[in-house]
């Protein structure tokens, strides 16, 4: 086999591996649906457990990580040996950028596009700022982790978009009821729709709030591939920067025969990471994604790979050139940003956003934010689809973290999946029994909306559907005078704050679907002793 053919074989092997990991990522994402019985598979969070950025940021911010997150050390080990192959071979977002950056890319070398740019240092400075933030408890970097970014976008925007198309399409065919003779078109579409409904999707009509920004960020970073291929990976990705730091002197190094190189730039033209400062030379291992495109591209076969021990200085490696001054400035910037995040009324005082209802098992807010990456796995697996990404409810620091929106879906009484799947245990895994005793909020009647109070008609669906066995909502027969002066008896509902766990079933089933007559707010949440304004009755006995 010629050297060039061997080179292309390697490239195609890399592409196959990339595609396999992308499909695995999407497969695990689609598999993250409520299981028929038992606990969800621990493999669902596999990608997050091998992510060293999540490991480092969580460890810095929370000083604790789940044991399984230590798998990420394996990724670091691979990086120390081989360089940023995670970016080039494994990362599914990287693969999408490789595809987007490859489409329509001209084969002709372009000095601006293909050579290393000092602006690629940006990601290292961003990482420095983010990590400084993490040391002081800000976990924001994980929000921009590439795996998190792709998972969140796919879960909250892409899958619901596809689901919408399938559900609405099948419904149109079903409603139109068209066909020839005995044959109806929906005889073909309904089985497909039903299969997808029962095996791929779970919550019908699943949709998420505020996906515009999530999708927007994704689309913009994809579009930036038109300006520079793999723009995100080269300039911004914090995980890429972290892996870059660990690949400053990898065992696998690129060699070049200077005497054979005429600096034609054909090796740089297909380079994913823009890893070389000059055409054919000054290779920077921290910027190389290990795509292996360069070696077979060289018509003079002057490039190759060699294994070298870390202390060996040959073949020479080029540095990215992070300045100490720059790093310190970035760290200071990170701390300034953290100060800005925390200088909000909600973060300073004992003031709570009523709309911020965290899933059961969520740690106290500060601790929660020190761990939550906003990956969206809990939202993906939520049985009712009620877990939604925040926008500003938890402040800028808590963007895209989960909150329960009972109007969309309540917290199902026998479900504890969110805590089971959370990769960083920002939501602690609870048994169903523990979960059923965990208060996430407190329901309150809006007597200007509630049908019996406001309009004098019977209703109390909230009481009917309250899942607490002896009912946190009870009704008292009350005499009310009608418009004509007639006195009638009507059952008026009330909430027992000792029994209410804030699951929001009542809010969800209220006939008023715009602003329900009963709403759950964050008061009484078990996770925060400062947000428990109601003195428990019965000697503080929470058991029911």
């Amino acid at each position: 086999m010629s050297k060039a053919r061997r080179g292309w074989l390697r490239v195609w092997t890399r592409r196959t591996v990339q595609l396999a990991f992308l499909l695995l990522f999407l497969g695990l994402l689609l598999a993250a649906r409520p299981p028929a019985e038992g606990s969800p598979s621990p493999w669902l969070k596999a990608f997050f457990l091998i992510d060293p950025l999540i490991l480092l940021a969580t460890w810095l911010a929370a000083h604790a990580v789940p044991l399984a997150a230590l798998w990420a050390l394996a990724t670091l080990a691979v990086t120390i040996l081989l360089g940023r192959v995670f970016c080039g071979w494994v990362c599914p977002l990287g693969t999408l950028h490789a595809i987007a950056g490859g489409i329509g890319r001209r084969r002709k070398p372009d000095a601006a596009r293909d050579r290393w740019s000092p602006w690629q240092r940006t990601k290292y400075y961003l990482l420095a700022g983010f990590l400084a933030m993490a040391v002081f408890g800000g976990h924001w970097v994980a929000v921009f982790d590439p795996l998190v970014l792709l998972y969140r976008t796919t879960t909250t925007a892409l899958v619901p978009g596809v689901q919408w198309a399938i559900e609405e399409g099948a419904k149109k065919v079903y409603d139109a009821d068209v066909g020839v003779g005995e044959y109806r078109a929906h005889q073909a579409t309904e089985p497909v729709y039903t299969w997808l409904r029962d095996h791929v999707f779970y919550v019908q009509g699943q949709a998420f709030l505020g996906t515009g920004l999530i999708l927007g960020l994704f689309v913009v970073t994809l579009a930036l591939n038109r300006y520079r291929p793999r723009f995100w990976c080269r300039y911004l990705c914090p995980l890429g920067a972290l892996l870059g730091v660990f690949s400053w002197r990898p065992l696998l190094r690129r060699t070049g025969r200077k005497e054979a190189c005429n600096e034609c730039g054909l090796c740089a033209a297909p380079c994913h990471g823009a890893a070389a400062e000059t055409f054919g030379g000054q290779w920077k291992p921290a910027e190389c994604l290990g795509c292996l495109n360069c070696t077979p591209a060289c018509p003079k076969e002057s490039l190759g790979w060699t294994v070298q021990l870390p202390w060996r200085r040959e073949p020479a490696l080029s540095r990215v050139g992070i300045s100490r001054r720059g790093a310190i400035a970035a760290a200071a910037g990170g701390l300034a940003a953290l100060a800005f995040f925390r200088a909000t009324p909600q973060a300073r005082g004992k003031k709570y956003n009523p709309a911020l209802i965290r899933p059961p098992g969520a740690r106290p807010e500060r601790e929660f934010l020190q761990r939550c990456t906003g990956c969206g796995l809990c939202m993906k697996v939520c049985r009712t689809g009620g877990l939604q990404p925040t926008l500003i409810e938890a402040g800028l620091e808590g963007i895209w973290t989960p909150r329960l929106v009972p109007l969309i879906g309540p917290c199902d009484h026998t479900c504890n999946l969110c805590g089971q799947v959370c990769p960083t245990e920002a939501i602690r895994p609870l048994s169903v029994e523990e979960k059923q005793q965990t208060k996430i909020g407190l329901a309150a009647f809006d007597t200007t909306r509630c049908i019996p109070y406001a309009y004098g008609r019977p209703c109390i669906i909230c009481e009917e559907q309250c899942p607490i066995p002896d009912k946190a909502i009870y009704a008292i027969d009350t005499e009310v005078k009608g418009r004509d002066g007639q006195v009638t008896t009507i059952a008026l509902p009330h909430v027992d704050p000792d029994k209410c766990i804030g699951c929001g079933v009542c809010e969800n089933v209220c006939p008023l679907n715009d602003r329900p007559g009963i709403r759950v707010m964050s008061a009484n949440e078990s996770r925060d002793p400062d947000n428990q304004p109601i003195l428990p009755g019965g000697g503080g006995d929470y058991a029911w």
């Binding site: 049985r383 009712t384 199902d412 026998t414 019977p458 669906i461 009481e463 009917e464 559907q465 059952a491």
Partner: protein
Amino acid sequence: MEKQTRREFLAQTAAAGTLALAAQSPLARQAWAADNAPEMTIARWTGPKDLTADQISRAAVKLTEQAVAGLGGLERFIGKGSVVWLKPNIGWDRTPETAADTNPDVVATLIRLCFEAGAKTVKVGDNPCDIAQRTYAASGIAEAAKKAGAEVLFLDRTRFRETAIGGDRIKSIPIHPAILECDLVLNVPVVKHHRLATATLCMKNYMGVIEKRNLFHQAIPECLVDITRFMKPQICVLDAVRILTDHGPKGGDLKDVAMPLALAAGTDIVALDAWGAEVLGLKVADVPSIGLGEAAGLGRSDYRSLALKEIAVS
């Protein structure tokens, strides 16, 4: 099952033929039934009350078999090759011993009897309040029904069709077409407490064939009469093997569960509901839908005045 004599058979055939010529309406069928066969049977367990879970299961099977047999068998209602929709209460994500859903043994037994009576297909489904996948599994009904050979179907909430039911209060409501397309809807509720409706029995069980049901709560008795009139019940089986006496209809606490070990089957939905109210220790007047149903001509609340058969099972 009781055997018919040849004379009875001939007489019934003749009567049925005459009536069939006279009118094909379900009312006529009921009239025919009233003349010739029991309108209601009540099967009560008279054996030892201290039963294990297994023994309760077997008792539920026997009660169902005997009550249906006492009514003249399901052959009365099911033609050869017909499609039956069995409509249990599968409303809640609760296990059978909490009595929040219809007893799975009752459901399985009825499925078997449907097939024995000549049904081609038996479909089982409800529009639950909790998540369907959960309620079907937790109630034990999905497993029991599948084992008995029925098709267990989820009622897709996006497939309900707005249907004119011509009621006094409800003019039209989304109903799942799969239910309306069946030859017979066999209504199999469980006796439960219900704060607003006082009790949830046969008439209320029809709230599982519709969507937008939370509107019903603003006038439950009237709405139940409307939907019952539209559904034209031919036979209902009311499960009182275990009943929920308080904190219904979802319950969840075993101290609210009683075990009358009884079951009634009949053609008169009002009569069955009246019996169910009694099982709960209520008077007919306590459950407004019963009186209203009777006033609307859906049946008679004085179930003892019907052609009633009471069967002791042990």
